[in-house]
C-alpha cells in the first residue's frame, strides 16, 4: 500500500526541469496560443512585416516616381492600387510607407522602454528624493496632452522623423518606468539582493542581473502596447502635416490627401489602404500585447 502510491506519484509528476513538458517558457507559449485573437494578429502582422520589408521587390514602381500622365487613376493592372495626385503608385507608396511608420513606431517604443528602465530602476534602487522627483516627472508626463507638446515641438524644431521619435518616445516612458520602479521596490528588500550587496555587488549589477529579468514580462507587454500607440501617434502627426514630410511616404501623410470631399467620395483607393493598414496594424499589435499579457502574467486573471 505504501510502495505503489510512490511509484504512481513518480509516474504522474512529469519531468519538471527545464526543457521538459512543464518549462515556464513552454507554458507561456501554450497560454499565448490559447488567445485566438493574438495568434491571428501575429500571423497577420507577420504577413504585413514581410510585405513591408520586401517593398522593393514587390512594388512595380518606385514610390516617389511621379507620372503626370496617370494622375489619380483607378486601380488597374499597372498600378495595383491606383495613383495619387502626382501619379505616384499607391501600392508602392503603401509598402514603403509601412517601413517608415513601423520603423518610427518601434523606435519610439524602444526609446520609451529604455528611458523607462533607466529612470524606473534609478527611482526604485536609490529611493528617497530621487524616487519622489522621478515619480513627479512621470505624473507630469502622463497628465500632459502629448499631442499639444508634439505640435509645439514640431513647430519649433521642424517636423521630421527624429523629432517625432523623440517626442513620442518621451511621453511613453512613465508606463514602463512605473513597472520597473515597482519591481525594484518590491525586490529590493529581498535577502538575495541584500546578500549581493553585502558581497560587494555594484547597484548596476543588481539591476541588470536581478531586477530586469523579474520585470521583463510586464515590460515586454508594455513595450508592445507602446508600439501600437506609437504607430497610431505617428499616423496622426503625419496626417496633420507635423511628421514625415512628403515626398517620403508614411501611412499618415498618405491619408493627408483625404482631406477633400472629392477624394473621399471618388478616390477611395487613396485613403482606404493606408487607413486600413494603420488600423489593422494597431489592432493587431494590441491583441498581441493582450496575448502576451495573458501568457506571461497569468495572475492577471480577471477579464
Amino acid at each position: 500500500m505504501t510502495v505503489t502510491p510512490l511509484a504512481d506519484e513518480r509516474a504522474t509528476v512529469a519531468p519538471a526541469a527545464g526543457g521538459g513538458h512543464r518549462s515556464p517558457a513552454r507554458m507561456a507559449l501554450r497560454r499565448f496560443l490559447r488567445h485566438r485573437a493574438a495568434v491571428v494578429s501575429l500571423i497577420v502582422l507577420a504577413v504585413i512585416v514581410l510585405l513591408v520589408l520586401g517593398a522593393d521587390l514587390l512594388a512595380q514602381h518606385p514610390p516617389n516616381a511621379t507620372d503626370l500622365s496617370a494622375i489619380r487613376s483607378r486601380p488597374n493592372a499597372d498600378h495595383w492600387l491606383g495613383t495619387d495626385a502626382t501619379g505616384r503608385d499607391v501600392f508602392a507608396r503603401l509598402l514603403h510607407a509601412g517601413r517608415v511608420s513601423l520603423g518610427v513606431g518601434v523606435a519610439s517604443a524602444a526609446l520609451a522602454v529604455a528611458l523607462g528602465i533607466v529612470l524606473g530602476s534609478l527611482a526604485g534602487m536609490i529611493g528617497g528624493w530621487v524616487d519622489g522627483l522621478i515619480m513627479r516627472l512621470a505624473d507630469i508626463f502622463l497628465s500632459f496632452p502629448s499631442l499639444v507638446v508634439m505640435i509645439v515641438l514640431a513647430g519649433i524644431f521642424g517636423p521630421s522623423a527624429a523629432t517625432m521619435i523623440i517626442a513620442i518616445g518621451i511621453f511613453q516612458w512613465p508606463i514602463c518606468g512605473r513597472l520597473v520602479r515597482g519591481s525594484a521596490l518590491s525586490i529590493r528588500e529581498n535577502e538575495y539582493i541584500l546578500a549581493s550587496r553585502a558581497t560587494g555587488a555594484h547597484p548596476w549589477w543588481v539591476i541588470t542581473r536581478h531586477i530586469l529579468p523579474a520585470v521583463l514580462p510586464p515590460v515586454v507587454v508594455a513595450g508592445t502596447l507602446s508600439v501600437a500607440g506609437s504607430i497610431g501617434l505617428e499616423a496622426t502627426l503625419s496626417f496633420l502635416g507635423l511628421g514625415i514630410q512628403p515626398p517620403t511616404a508614411s501611412w499618415g501623410n498618405m491619408l493627408n490627401e483625404a482631406q477633400s470631399l472629392t477624394v473621399i467620395r471618388n478616390q477611395p483607393w487613396l485613403w482606404l489602404p493606408p487607413g486600413l493598414a494603420v488600423a489593422i496594424t494597431v489592432l493587431g499589435v494590441n491583441f498581441i500585447g493582450d496575448g502576451l499579457r495573458d501568457a506571461l502574467d497569468p495572475k492577471q486573471g480577471e477579464r
Binding site: R136, D139, I140, L142, S143, F144, P145, S146, L147, V148, V149, I151, V152, A154, G155, I156, F157, P159, A228, G232, A235, T236, F239, L240, G241, L242, L255, A258, Q259, L261, I264, R265, P268, W271, G275, L276, V278, A279, V282, L283, N286, F287, E302
Partner: protein
C-alpha cells in the same frame, strides 16, 4: 479635506511653474526673433532702428535669463502673449476667439463618450461573459485601435456623401446660422470624438463596477433581499469614484482627438489654429497654444483633485 486640497493646489501650481519655464525656454529656442514676436507689427515696420533697440532693451533681451523669464511671465499673466508673426493680430485675441468652439467640441464630445461608455460598461459588467459582454468589449477594443481620423473619414463617407444628412465642415451654415443648423454641424465631430474616447472609458466602467459588485456590502444587500437591480445601483455609486478621476485624465485624449477632428471638419478651434501656425512657422501663436495647453492641464488636474475629494469621503476624512 482642506489640507489635502491645499497640498494638491501647491503641487499643481509647482508643476505649472516648471512647465512655464520649459515653455519660456522654447521661446528662446525658436529661430524667430523675440522682438518680432512681442512687438506690435505697426511699430515694428515703422520704427527706426533705435526704436527697435529700445524695445529690445525693454523686453530685457540683454538681461540675464532669469530677468527675461520674469518679464515674459509677467506680460503673459496680464494677457500679453505677443503678436502673430503671420497676421499681426494679438495672440491672446486669436486664442480667445478659438477657445469657445474647441471647448464646445470637447464638452459635447465628452458628453457623447459618457453616454456611450456608461450604459455599455454597466451592461457588460452586469451581463458578464455573455454575448453582450463580448460584443461590448470587442467594440471598445476595436474602436480604440482605429485612429480617430480614420473613423472620421469613414463617417464622412457614409453620412455626408453616401447618405447626405450631416454636414462635414464648419461650425454652422454661414448663410443660415440657426440653432438647428449649428447642432447639425456639431453632431458628426462631437460624436466621433466621443466614440474614439469611449472605448477606454467603457472598459474602466466595466472593471470598476465588476469589482464593486463582488464586494461584501453588495453581497450583503442581496442576501438581505435586495433585487439585482437595486444591488447594481448600490454598487454603482462607489464604482464611479475611480471613473471620475479617469474622466479628468481623459482630457489629454480629448485634446488630441479634438485637434485632429478640427482639422478634418474645418472646425474653427484652437487645434486647427495651432496646426496652421506650425505650417506657417508662426512661433508666437505656437507658444501661446503651448501655454493654453498647460493651463488646461493645470485646471483639469485641480478639477480631478476636487472631484476626488467630493466623491470619496475617505479622502476627505484622511
Amino acid at each position: 479635506m482642506g489640507a489635502y486640497l491645499i497640498r494638491r493646489l501647491l503641487i499643481n501650481i509647482g508643476v505649472f511653474w516648471v512647465i512655464s519655464v520649459a515653455i519660456f525656454a522654447l521661446t528662446r529656442a525658436t529661430p524667430g526673433d523675440p522682438v518680432a514676436m512681442m512687438v506690435p507689427p505697426e511699430q515694428l515696420n515703422s520704427g527706426s532702428a533705435a526704436y527697435i533697440e529700445a524695445r529690445r532693451a525693454e523686453l530685457g533681451l540683454d538681461q540675464p535669463v532669469v530677468v527675461q523669464y520674469l518679464r515674459w511671465a509677467g506680460s503673459a499673466l496680464t494677457g500679453d502673449l505677443g503678436f502673430s508673426m503671420v497676421s499681426g493680430r494679438p495672440v491672446t485675441e486669436l486664442l480667445l476667439e478659438r477657445l469657445g468652439p474647441t471647448i464646445e467640441l470637447m464638452g459635447v464630445g465628452m458628453l457623447c463618450s459618457i453616454l456611450i461608455a456608461f450604459p455599455l460598461g454597466i451592461i457588460a459588467a452586469v451581463r458578464r461573459n455573455t454575448v453582450v459582454d463580448y460584443i461590448a468589449t470587442f467594440f471598445s477594443l476595436g474602436v480604440v485601435a482605429f485612429p480617430v481620423f480614420f473613423i472620421a473619414l469613414v463617417a464622412i463617407y457614409l453620412f455626408t456623401l453616401q447618405f447626405p444628412i450631416l454636414p462635414s465642415s464648419g461650425i454652422t451654415d454661414p448663410s443660415n446660422p440657426t440653432l438647428g443648423n449649428t447642432i447639425r454641424h456639431l453632431i458628426l465631430p462631437a460624436l466621433i470624438l466621443g466614440v474614439g474616447n469611449s472605448g477606454r472609458l467603457m472598459r474602466y466602467v466595466r472593471s470598476s463596477l465588476l469589482s464593486e459588485l463582488g464586494s461584501d456590502y453588495v453581497r450583503t444587500a442581496r442576501a438581505k433581499g435586495a433585487s439585482p437591480t437595486r444591488a447594481v445601483i448600490h454598487g454603482l455609486r462607489n464604482s464611479l469614484i475611480p471613473v471620475i478621476t479617469i474622466l479628468a485624465s481623459d482630457l489629454s485624449h480629448l485634446v488630441a482627438g479634438a485637434v485632429v477632428i478640427e482639422q478634418i471638419f474645418a472646425w474653427p478651434g484652437m487645434g486647427r489654429l495651432a496646426v496652421t501656425a506650425v505650417g506657417q512657422n508662426d512661433y508666437s501663436v505656437i507658444i501661446g497654444f503651448a501655454l493654453v495647453g498647460a493651463v488646461m492641464v493645470l485646471l483639469s488636474n485641480l478639477l480631478a483633485d476636487i472631484l476626488y475629494t467630493v466623491v470619496d469621503p475617505r479622502v476627505r476624512l484622511s
